[in-house]
Symmetry: C2
Subunit: 137 residues, 2 copies
DNA sequence: CAGCATCCGTACTGATACTG
DNA sequence: CAGTATCAGTACGGATGCTG
């Protein structure tokens, strides 16, 4: 438990780490976290976990993503080095997306977060009901 | 490693878990993740990690949050059962915010994610530079 | 001290139509 | 198949002023 306390303090320190111009908002860790916590990034990374996929294959796997958002998010993931893009010069063209080593390394921390959410979401929903009931009264 | 593969498959399953009306977008796990990944929630949870704090104390600790967002985010965290709010009927009023057991339980998964970001952000920034240089060429 | 209410700009998103 | 381009709606977030 004191181990937890120590690592927690370290985490807070990392989180306060300022960016180039010294502003808290430029903390590189926060920047990364913002990126990966957008609406679709995580979902795509998870879909790619089992192996390479083609554009429309990913699209079918995530029915409620728009084509624009898929393109855009894949490009960001590629830019961040989490996903690689390979074009096969066939007709019609085929493009494969695959997690890089960096992308794969994200799976573990993320899966831990998902496990937390899965273990606790009922508790959270109960808390919300209680809170809302309280608010009415 | 096959252990990782097994837990990963479980995570994907959780992530596909549909909500009440069966739509993917209502996946309870995704709902929770959306919540905690907003601009300020995590920051506040981290600030509260060492112990209870008062409203303006938190505000000073996070200089770039507006009063509106602090109020709003604290209310959401309270609604989700992650933070407790205690009012001391003094003049002027004092209000203390503190992590609940549920809030504390989030520290570990989150700290793991922060540690990942801290260990990798330089690699990500390098990937971005490379990508942008490539795009120009 | 600890909020609430309002206004307003912008950034994110989706729908739609078009291309190599 | 795998995108690009454009437009329009919305939700997020900040600045400001006011209250118990």
């Amino acid at each position: 438990m004191s181990d937890d306390a120590a690592r927690l303090e370290a985490v807070v320190t990392q989180f306060r780490k300022a960016g180039i111009n010294g502003a808290l908002a430029d903390c590189p860790v926060r920047g990364i976290l913002d990126k990966i916590s957008d609406k679709w990034s995580m979902l795509i990374v998870l879909e790619l976990a089992p192996g390479a996929m083609r554009f429309n294959q990913i699209r079918r796997a995530i029915p409620d993503i728009s084509q624009k958002m898929l393109t855009q998010t894949l490009k960001e993931l590629q830019r961040d080095g989490l996903v690689s893009r390979t074009v096969f010069p066939t007709v019609p063209p085929a493009v494969e997306y695959e997690l890089t080593e960096l992308g794969v390394s994200l799976l573990r921390p993320f899966s831990i977060l998902v496990e937390w959410a899965d273990a606790r979401y009922q508790q959270i929903e109960r808390a919300r009901s209680d809170f809302d009931a309280q608010a009415v009264a």
